[in-house]
Symmetry: C2
Subunit: 415 residues, 2 copies
């Protein structure tokens, strides 16, 4: 039984297999992100002008939104139960923070927008969970760099590689030893000499104290013990690497699954997800991003259960998976990412099933893999506008729209 659906760095590793199997068994996934801000330039309505082309919006968001942080990621998995004729859901809320992994890792800077922070604060958002216990992440390039660092260090240790005592980018050879120090140097057992003298019988390792002070531990070991320690060290390093890649592993799993992913106002979520966990966004929204990374389409959808009830869509039958905490639509928890993802998934099911009412004979359940859904994938740009008047008769245009993404070709992960 999960205590709640919120995951921090402390319980992330233990939850990963649960997340992986939830993604694996799901028919479709719903995601949602919460950000430290929306726009560092134009106001939000100018940034998401309903009359912009997808290319225009992409360019605006890339220019003005990518320096904010996606710091809460909601994932809700939907699995159809044929026997019970309902969907079984599992919801996850991940708090995310780019905690520097070590002294050479990137020190990320991100912008906060006070109106966005104030809005999330008014919804009871827990900033301490983000900044104290957020799950770290690396993008693909950072992951490759860290992996290379580990491999270089491994090949240098225990004399198995070709250790370089020359600074990189230096044209000088090793320094010559002054005459008066030759005898002393000759007597000194430095680390290189030790491992040269005892090529099989020593285990040399750089360790860190709790205070992050580094020291070298040299142990006399026989061949078998040395190999055992070597394996242990490699496993520990692999564990550290996995911890550093952190939340990006969930994104890799979503991408690899090839499952349908739905969201609301989702272009921003998709762009942040690629930018933060994958790579720098291409300058122009080309076919590359459509075909090679993720394919998205715009879909009309309004994130509100009232909308579902008043429109021809029927509220779908869902149950929470056993052992998972459940959301209640009667007690709205809008703007918790997991809840928003859950509601978005409900909307998607309602609309998919609505398409089934046009069939002869009508069908109550339309699976997410149905051909009826296909025309909306990467093909349709539909915006739904609601015009409503406030009591002071100022007219407000509320653009409600939904972007659904569909991963066709999973993007490559670093190995």
């Amino acid at each position: 039984m999960l205590a709640d659906c919120c995951f921090c760095v402390t319980d992330f590793k233990d939850s990963l297999n649960t997340v992986y199997s939830a993604i694996e068994e799901a028919d479709f996934l719903a995601i949602d992100g919460e950000f430290s801000g929306i726009s560092d330039g134009p106001n939000v309505s100018a940034l998401t002008n309903g009359l912009d082309t997808p290319e225009e919006r992409y360019m605006k968001l890339k220019k003005h939104s990518m320096d904010f942080l996606l710091f809460q990621f909601g994932l809700c998995t939907f699995t159809y139960d044929q026997a019970e004729s309902n969907y079984v859901i599992k919801t996850f809320n991940f708090y995310i923070f780019p905690k520097p992994f070590n002294r050479t890792s990137p020190d990320t800077k991100f912008i906060c927008q006070s109106s966005s922070i104030d809005f999330l604060a008014s919804q009871g958002f827990d900033f301490n969970k983000v900044f104290r216990h957020g799950i770290p992440y690396l993008n693909q390039e950072e992951e490759v760099q860290l992996r290379e660092q580990y491999e270089e260090r491994r090949s240098q240790s225990n004399g198995s590689g070709n250790p370089s005592y020359i600074s990189p980018n230096s044209n000088k050879g090793p320094g010559s030893i002054p005459e008066e120090h030759r005898e002393y140097i000759g007597r000194v057992d430095n680390v290189g000499l030790i491992s040269y003298r005892f090529p099989k019988g020593l285990h040399v390792e750089t360790l860190e104290t709790e205070k992050k002070e580094r020291y070298i531990q040299i142990s006399k070991v026989d061949d078998e013990e040395r190999k055992r320690r070597e394996r242990q060290k490699q496993e520990r390093e692999q564990g550290e690497l996995n911890d550093a890649v952190g939340f990006s592993r969930v994104i890799h799993a979503i991408s690899k699954s090839g499952k349908l992913v739905v969201g609301h106002n989702m272009l921003l979520d998709v762009m942040h997800t690629i930018h933060q966990f994958y790579c720098v966004l291409p300058e122009v929204q080309t076919r590359t991003i459509y075909m090679n990374t993720m394919v998205y389409f715009l879909f009309h959808l309004y994130l509100n259960r009232i909308f579902i009830l008043t429109f021809p869509f029927k509220s779908p039958k869902v149950v929470t998976a056993e052992g998972f905490p459940s959301y209640d639509t009667a007690q709205e928890q809008l703007h918790e990412a997991g809840y928003d993802a859950y509601i978005t998934g409900l909307c998607f099911i309602s609309m998919a099933n609505y398409l089934g009412t046009f069939l002869t004979p009508p069908r109550a359940h339309i699976p997410s893999q149905s051909k009826l859904i296909q025309p909306f994938v990467n093909n349709s740009l539909m915006c739904y506008y609601i015009l409503y008047n406030t009591i002071s008769y100022s007219t407000v245009v509320l653009v409600v729209q939904c972007v659904t993404i569909y991963c066709t070709t999973p993007y490559p992960t670093a190995q």
Copy 2:
């Protein structure tokens, strides 16, 4: 009795008189700030290179540090008690956040640096207090703008001014009424006509519901009641204005007091304080900023009680003012701004008293207004370096220095 020395927006207004009188009675003040980051470009050691001139450091900090947020401000006031021969201290910790005041107020963006946030998180810093309950503030220009907004609205209401029904920047006059609507328009009692018909007997006011929906309330009142309501409204508006100016009022009080203000590594604190609560920093650090706003000097000082104990300085006698929570130097709370300010004040007293040991006969107490202190004001640039080796023998240079500022000419406040 104050529960603790931390102030949020909820208890700020009630604490203001306590803060004002603490500043008023003090012999000198110590301040310290905590920031959302230090550098958006070069690493911190390059930014605060001990070999830079004050001008170079100023330019670097202005370029790379001002987009971060000063979100905790510590103030410690020191008052000498002649009878008891000790200092009486009062410590305040203010959480600060630029919560947008209304729909036209600026939507501040600020940068966070993940290493700084991570460091504060590891010290138990409470980010929820900042983002949920931080005290707002306005700089001088924003305060003037808001004051003008209020005055313009006041002069337009109740027909006392010259209300303009023409959009600003419009060259057109009022539109002409089409023939077929003349009769209807003639019958309509719009707000302008009402206050014209009842110039003394009506009170017109724009109010807001809890949902921020605005509506106009028109009440029939006699002349006396109308004036009473007018006064009430003005008082309420003045209160709102003061709430919006918020924490800047503490900075105004410090500046007006003309008291000696001490800090450590203080150029950054002074620059953030001016930038955030006063005005945009001048392009180049000219005499203007020295003479007209604040005068600062650099002083060698290390923020650590161990330093005080091992150097010739004696630990000073201080007691916490009655009703104020006390800090204990045995339980270090470094990097809570109020504690850091307190420790800095202790260091200053020790060093000031140390100067007294050179007098004949020696004097145990040197007041902060003493002529012995004067040579260090705006005159001295002294850096103290400690070179120490870590256990792994990598050499680390720790630059320890302290900047003390002294307000000579208080900067003008908006009226």
